[in-house]
Symmetry: C2
Subunit: 301 residues, 2 copies
């Protein structure tokens, strides 16, 4: 069977979902999509895709449905709500759930889809919009062999690296959650370090240069601190994403009464930034919660 005879659906054409859809189109799949925003769907149509009026219309046409929405509530709504995709998919179909959610939600989702004869692949994404567009993002996946078998070609097209973390749903999500724990703490730590440097009148550009070549470096320090140095808080990933994701980290641990002191502290810092009015700015804006410093002014391009 060639790609062009296989119908794949993408629910949610945001920054990540549009990249996934375009990767599928490039590979020759008959690619369907739906989105609440008419302009995103129109753009997708001009690029050769098949727009669908709602998730049920998409589900009835597709063997593989990729859900690229923001959270568990939206995942539930597009699969099981009014005109939900799962209600219309044929038995044997597979759902890739890509939102970052609580691990116990994914486990239950697998059971609910199985009751309808559908497979679930637990498949949270990592890598950002640019990599999604190139088809080079990372997927942290888990699920039964049948789920993988039903979407091998699709996985190969949308991601560069597909980590297979076991046959139980939730394992992929747990690893993603732990990645977000580290990402969130490291962004807040980068802000705390740069804030102390500003407080102590250390040259911030020199500080960045030294740290990125020293044992204090992190992927996030290297990636986010340039936003602070340029005074550019255009959101690549927003403060409110980490209010949500560190919240999921803490919810996951709280379910077994497990303490996470650094995650809890970093979550408070992102909440302080959000309530101070920076929720939709780049997550590096968490530095604005520190008193008594002047962050670098925006640099003209």
């Amino acid at each position: 069977m060639t790609n062009s005879t296989r119908s794949v659906g993408v629910i949610g054409l945001g920054a990540m979902g549009m990249g996934v859809a375009r990767s599928l189109l490039r590979a020759g799949f008959a690619t369907h999509a739906c989105d609440v925003r008419a302009e995103a769907l129109e753009q997708f149509k001009t690029e050769g895709g098949v727009p669908c009026a709602d998730p049920a219309a998409l589900g009835s046409a597709c063997e593989v449905v990729i859900v690229v929405v923001v959270n568990a509530e939206q995942t539930d709504a597009v699969l099981f709500g009014d005109q939900g995709a799962a209600t219309a998919m044929r038995p044997g179909g597979v759902v890739l759930a890509c939102a970052t959610v609580r691990p116990d939600y994914v486990t239950r989702l697998g059971q609910r889809l199985a009751e309808r004869g559908l497979h679930l692949l637990d498949a949270p994404m990592s890598g950002g919009a640019a990599k999604a567009a190139e088809g080079t993002m990372t997927l942290m996946t888990s699920g039964p062999a049948a789920a993988y078998a039903a979407c091998e070609e699709v996985l190969a097209v949308i991601a560069d690296k597909v980590y297979r973390l076991g046959d139980r749903h939730g394992q992929g999500t747990k690893v993603k959650i732990i990645n977000q724990l580290l990402a969130g703490v490291h962004i807040a730590a980068a802000a705390e370090a740069m804030a102390l440097g500003l407080r102590e009148s250390v040259n911030p550009d020199a500080l960045y240069e030294v740290i990125t070549h020293s044992a204090g470096n992190s992927w996030m320090f290297e990636n986010r601190v340039p936003h602070i140095l340029r005074g550019d808080y255009t959101p690549l990933s927003a403060v409110d994403i980490f209010v949500k994701d560190l919240g999921l980290v803490l919810d996951t641990a709280r379910a077994t009464k497990f303490p996470l002191p650094l995650s809890a502290t970093a979550h408070q810092m992102f909440m302080a930034a959000s309530t101070a009015g920076h929720g939709r700015e780049d997550d590096s804006a968490v530095i604005k919660t520190f008193p008594g410093i002047t962050v670098p002014a925006p640099k003209s391009a």
Copy 2:
């Protein structure tokens, strides 16, 4: 003037100091040293060095004195205490202060040495014992041009990278302190992340593999988590080092009433680990403060 006609002294032949001394010997300097441990001094002598009975004897023989001790108290003792090096050095000599200390201590040290006609280079080290032995460590330095001029050749021999962070004492130390802030928080965050993974029955080796290729990675996560995976807490750098260094970070900020929420939390974690009996184990042993998990057992070699 060739290296062999220049006398350089190293005070403190610990893991870092011995590396510095050997780098100087390799480069042909007439290298002097002193240490409270007779066996270290004996070893140094067999390698061609000149052992000194006390810091004053070393100071009277050397133009450049490198102080590689643990903290401000020891730095003060070997320079200004009974038989201190600074009391015996000739005017125009230069002291390299390499311990991680409070920035205000370094500023005062520069003034006290200047009163005796001596130069100070603020020169905390980074990179660990292996790099010190190779002469490839990093120095985070600051000080007046005269201090640099007096020890250019020495710097070139003991370090691979010499960051010059300004002409005021304390700037090098501030950058080192901020590096330690990040290093300490990142080690504690690595432990917290691995602890959550163990609690959630994620395969720890797979978790390490994914994180080190994802946005949650840090230099410390990549370097320290293998100790946890092998169950090997042989101290490369001990828990008590971060009790000390994060303490210095917090003291530095407290001097201007500046809040550091993540550093304060990480410091509490290292103190909990130390008081639970892990102070002299590798700093990754901070994971042992998490309840309700079983860390990987030691792997036989």
